[in-house]
């Protein structure tokens, strides 16, 4: 997490144990992004990405997880970073998971590709020990 030594401005940590937590994470993300000066539309992008990642923890990880939101300073711009983490079985095939319409349990299969489009950066680390997804959006 400190690979770029970000200048951390603020952080919110939300444990994800059920879908109510996911909804709560979405509401938090909306407020957080607007408080960081993001436009309403960008705040919705970020909140929707948070909800998709939270839904995936619930639907695919079969374990508790967490979502952490941080705001950082990067070359005079504010960046919001979402880190969604779980101890689930991992993503079987990351390239496939990023393909529109691919789903392993009858979902819509546009969650992860949607997050990729809504955010500026998406980094996925996954193994059979769990998944850690980092998504960033610049203001």
């Amino acid at each position: 997490m400190n690979d770029e030594a970000p200048c951390l401005l603020d952080a919110v940590h939300i444990p994800i144990q059920d879908y109510a937590d996911v909804a709560e994470a979405g509401r938090n993300a909306l407020l957080f992004a607007e408080a960081c000066g993001f436009s309403k539309v960008l705040a919705y992008y970020i909140a929707t990405a948070v909800i998709e990642l939270g839904n995936n923890i619930m639907a695919h990880a079969d374990s508790d997880g967490s979502i952490v939101l941080t705001s950082q300073f990067e070359d005079t711009r504010i960046v919001i970073e979402i880190i969604a983490e779980d101890r689930g079985p991992g993503i079987f095939d990351v390239d496939l998971a990023l393909t529109d319409g691919y789903t392993t349990n009858n979902g819509l299969g546009c969650g992860l590709p949607g997050v990729a489009r809504l955010m500026d950066e998406l980094h996925i680390e996954t193994s059979d020990q769990g998944t850690r997804i980092r998504a960033r959006k610049r203001r």
Partner: protein, 132 residues
């Protein structure tokens, strides 16, 4: 929490809220379809004004409900998509909401009424009469 369905003449008015669990949604789809099937309704307005954020799951619920209702011969309009939500859905994936949508409830009702009126002008070719 069961999703309330109001009936205005032959139009069903439903408002989808946040924090629904799967059973609520299945119950909701069942209620809407039963009312259409029993000829209690010919039009459905799905109001999502009170949904702050619409994710791909909710988009699917809305689309599925609309498609099923249409298969049973009802007209469906979604209303209350906020501009930020609309932009997000477009950015996330084209066609996430494939149903006719209007900004507010009033326009939604007017759109359904317009379509139902247009139906009355069309000759009836199958057994699907427009008796209410």
């Amino acid at each position: 929490m069961r999703i309330p369905i109001l009936r205005l003449g032959d139009i069903l008015l439903t408002s989808i809220q946040v924090d629904l669990i799967d059973e609520d949604i299945l119950q909701f789809q069942h209620d809407v379809l039963t009312m259409i099937k029993n000829r209690d309704a010919q039009g459905v307005v799905i109001d999502i004004t009170s949904m702050e954020v619409v994710d791909s799951f909710m988009a699917r619920v809305i689309n599925d409900t609309a498609n099923m209702a249409r298969l049973l011969g009802a007209e469906v309009v979604v209303c209350g998509i906020q501009p930020s939500v609309a932009l997000t859905l477009v950015e996330m994936g084209r066609g996430l909401i494939g149903v006719t949508s209007t900004f507010n409830l009033e326009q939604g009702l007017r759109e359904i009424e317009r379509r139902l009126a247009a139906r009355l002008l069309r000759p009836v070719t199958d057994g699907d009469s427009n008796a209410t």
